[in-house]
Symmetry: C2
Subunit: 221 residues, 2 copies
Amino acid sequence: VDIVHIWRATLSPRKTPRVRTKPRSRYHHGALRRALLDAALALIEQDGPEALTLRAVARVAGVSPNAPYNHFEDKAALLAAVAEEGLDLLYREMTEAGARATGSAARLEAIGVSYVMFASSNPSRFRLFHATAIGKKSAHPTLVAAYERTFGVLLDTMGMCQREGVVRDGDVRRLALTAWSTVHGLATLLVEDQLEAAGFDAGNSLATAVVRALFGGLRVL
Amino acid sequence: VDIVHIWRATLSPRKTPRVRTKPRSRYHHGALRRALLDAALALIEQDGPEALTLRAVARVAGVSPNAPYNHFEDKAALLAAVAEEGLDLLYREMTEAGARATGSAARLEAIGVSYVMFASSNPSRFRLFHATAIGKKSAHPTLVAAYERTFGVLLDTMGMCQREGVVRDGDVRRLALTAWSTVHGLATLLVEDQLEAAGFDAGNSLATAVVRALFGGLRVL
DNA sequence: ACCTGAACACCGTTCAAGT
DNA sequence: ACCTGAACACCGTTCAAGT
């Protein structure tokens, strides 16, 4: 699905005067909000979140440049909404990965690995989560809630590990943050193609190794 | 130094016709390249790398919008040059922090903490390192070299730790990557203000605690 | 060699107007 | 209520022209 093609189409000189067989009233049914979210996601996956243009989203959805303003306060609000849906997906993947594992330690590892894998299989989407174009998080409370819900999976599992005695005592939030830092750091480095620059091959086994090395540091002595 | 003021000045309606006492030929001496780098850094520190505008840089330096093209191929090249200087600074801070510590384990910890501290005291500069506006790293080989040099500090110290028996055997690059992931993850979360969203207080002690927890995982058993 | 001015093809956003 | 058209104040970049 080469969306850039649609975009170029509107740019190309009008030699062929463009027979518009169907008037573009496809989205007057109240489905424009959904269509805009879909178009934005597709564009983001193609060229990354920072390349996203509100006008391009409107173009793909087949509406005028201002139509989005009827459904989103501004560009940041649209990005936040797409990010929120992405976080829901990450939440589900982490939860399912955790459920497949047996034992709290394996569960923690599975969650960490699934975080890294989500990032490496959906780099643009992952980068969107931290796109500065979204602006102050305080302006998007539901996005913050989605973050907390996702972090909650890690937090709960870490607590479970403590209760079962596979992770040492201490503030569970601090321990969860250490774990989060590690997987988030690796995910970020992967997504930014910084690993090959440092001479690493990005792979699944790498994620597992790193996560395991980390969890060795949290284990009871 | 409120640079935004300079910017606004050029926008304000010309009620007062602006006596230009000094003709703006200040930078015709070959110092424009340096002036552009300084202006860019100041603007980046004020509003973040993604808000940077090439035209604003030219404005602050007192030249026309196209003058920068005599010294940089495009906006990405200017950003890369500023990032490179920032990486040099990080390299020096890490090296000095390591030199102050005694013993390879303490050295490793000091380096990790200084990485996180650099990020939290220079958030905009740190974010610039990974700004997507710089574009493909392959286009900026000297920037990649600066990266590798900085990572080299960590790599060398990790090797030292292995030789002294405070870190377990194994591929030193993999171990260094784990350490890098952790400090990079924490730094990123700090810089993106994601920690307060998760209920953390961003502090120096946090960095130390996280780095220590990590290195517990690398220690020999 | 290095700079300016004018121009091009874009942006995000606003406002008035249409249905 | 929801959309369009025209407009505004910006961008990055290019090209011709000046010194």
